[in-house]
Assembly symmetry: C2
Homo-oligomer: 397 residues x 2
């Protein structure tokens, strides 16, 4: 049977590649510390579950295609409090931030088009872009420069007649980089100057550790035609399993096209919308506690990394990931060795090898992404295992 | 700003076209009987809400990309009871049947490809097919023949080098047609003979009123490479708002490609999956009662239609829709007149005009789709309003 040429250009998740090795290691009795996945361990605000328990309608009916009014109101109110003012019609509720991304890209990318994305980047962008028939042109960075990409002189030479958009994850996954306000201004100005969309995937907005104000490309109301904000309750409220996100834009032509997708999939899950609206009643003390906890974890990871000779890693400012270059020949081989041969008191460790976060072949081979989503004690042990693993891996050769 | 050529070929839902007129009519105090939407009024089995209320995990985490094991088990068990045996890996849980359809089509359709679909068909297929860069080649039918399409001599001449699949909704939306077993066999044989996929959108499987056994293209294990089954809990359990569906196929290459989409959107809503697994514990008495109720409604609609001079409609055998040709010049104009000028004791009626269910321009102009999702008394009144409306509409001219 024949399959779409587009889906044939896509791959399975590189994150899952080591899953069979992990299963085999566990079968041998190994205990694995997981620094490889971005599932936070923070408790979902009880307001979510309370809302679901008190749902009283006897028929679980379709919700309206653009989302239920209570949730749209809640999202609008959240942005109003950040001094970003959107009309209700400018907010489309989606099945996770993932659907918001897929819809935005399907609306703006055509066969042969290009989108600029700083690399390393979230690997799922590959499938989302390739299924539109388009391709990612990476904005290059380096571990030595802390994966800094926001320079006009780096970006403008990459723009050509096929370029349709610039997309950034801010705060960054996998790098933890956080844009300065004037860097965001510059990116918006570049988008305006070249008639490009600027897509801000802002799933990690609350996760900033230097006292920065919460930021969004939605601030730039002067770029109403260009800016697309991708948002989600997944990380903000540790509600990844709700699959509730939204697409926000002041570009009404885009909203019209996006609505075609929203209508064709009818609606987003009703109960998850009802409950997610209640998440927005959570107070600032919730975010302060979460931020404090992740900051402590980040600092632990950085302290431990600095003790490992040969590691290159600048301290990230946000999200709950960081990329680091390790003094190993190949992070893939190292991960496989950790699962097949290494152990310390029966323990080993998993991270995400760096290469799949890059579009440029050969880049990221000695880099890894660490998700610091373990509690303090486990995190320290995981980092000690990483250090010991590097030492033994290099000695054995 | 430039938009994708594919999304520009799509349209907004034709079902929504009369929404502003309905709002205006209601503002004038009109009471509208809705025969235009397919939202059933049957109560969702309480097992769904009980499962959600007893969910105890403090973190609402991502589910696995192919679905949670309990739900896959439940779906597998449901098919086993129908003597269709699928491996767990052959069932992918999706966000509604809509996502299952979108994923299947994205995997198999490329730019310039064609898919055969009997017309009239579910209008959302248009967006799903066009965003793949493909187009629908309709298999023509007529109201006089009860929208019958399953004839080899009608279908084979439409197959060309660009044809990739045949897709049917069975039982049918909007027509209520139900395939005979030997017609399904013939469609499968045509698909096999021409190396095509055969996609069965079987959302309404339980809604058959002639004592037929429950059917599925999944029965044809000899066409393992060809058959794709689209399923959902939406209508079966009156749980449209759960957005839980699945894609089932024995074609493992297709499963591999579909998994790329599943991984790129991470997962389906966790709680809705947990609760939907419990829906499958509902016993046969639930379906018997629902079937009895809809059969009564169908019979009411048919009895009332027969009393209207000039209406063409053969009695449909399934789903909860029917198409009828009315003795009016234009169903669109008639609907608008019903909302703007007609009333009887303050009441009026809405249906779905037929043209948007057709791909062939000009077809279906005097046809309508009736969704018989109202309880008996309201349904009788709605049909009386339709009869009176037709009489007055034709008299005024």
């Amino acid at each position: 049977m024949k399959f779409s040429s587009k889906v044939q250009k896509c791959g399975l998740s590189p994150m899952r590649k080591f899953h069979p090795y992990a299963v085999a290691a566990e079968a041998k009795g190994r205990n694995i510390y997981h620094l490889n996945i971005g599932q936070p361990d923070v408790i979902t605000p009880p307001a979510f579950f309370e809302a679901i328990r008190s749902f009283e309608q006897p028929v679980l009916a379709y919700a309206p295609s653009p989302g239920i009014p209570e949730l749209i109101d809640a999202i609008q109110g959240y942005y109003d409090a950040l001094d970003m003012h959107f009309d209700k019609s400018e907010i489309l509720v989606t099945t996770g931030g993932s659907e918001a991304l897929a819809i935005a890209l399907q609306c703006i990318l055509d066969d042969g088009d290009e989108i600029l994305i700083p690399e390393p980047f979230y690997p799922n962008y590959n499938t989302m872009v390739r299924t539109c028939g388009a391709s990612i042109r990476p904005i290059p960075t380096s571990p030595e420069e802390g994966y800094h990409y926001a320079e006009r002189s780096k970006i403008e030479p990459l723009i050509n007649a096929h370029t349709r958009a610039i997309m950034v994850t801010n705060p960054g996954n996998p790098t933890g980089t956080v844009l300065e306000h004037d860097e965001m201004r510059m990116l918006v100005d570049v988008a305006k100057a070249h008639d490009l969309f600027i897509i801000g995937d802002e799933a990690y907005r609350e996760f900033v550790y230097g006292g920065e104000p919460l930021q969004s490309f939605g601030e730039f109301a002067d770029a109403a035609e260009n800016v697309i904000v991708i948002d989600t309750v997944s990380k903000r409220f540790s509600a990844c399993g709700a699959r509730i996100g939204c697409l926000i834009t002041r570009n009404h032509e885009l909203l019209g096209h996006a609505m075609k997708y929203c209508q064709s999939r009818l609606s987003v899950a009703t109960l998850d919308q009802v409950a997610s609206a209640k998440l927005y009643t959570v107070g600032p003390e919730y975010f302060a506690a979460v931020r404090e906890e992740y900051k402590r974890r980040r600092d632990t990871v950085m302290r431990k990394l600095k003790e490992i000779p040969g590691v290159v890693c600048k301290c990230p400012k946000g999200a709950f990931y960081l990329m680091a270059a390790l003094p190993v020949d190949d992070a893939d081989k190292f991960q496989q060795w950790l699962l097949e041969e290494f152990e310390d008191n029966g323990d080993t460790v998993m991270f995400a090898p760096g290469a799949p976060f890059y579009a440029t072949p050969g880049k990221g081979m000695n880099e890894i992404r660490i998700a610091y989503v373990l509690e303090q004690e486990k995190l320290e042990r995981a980092m000690d295992l990483l250090a010991l693993g590097i030492k033994q891996y290099n000695e054995k050769k």
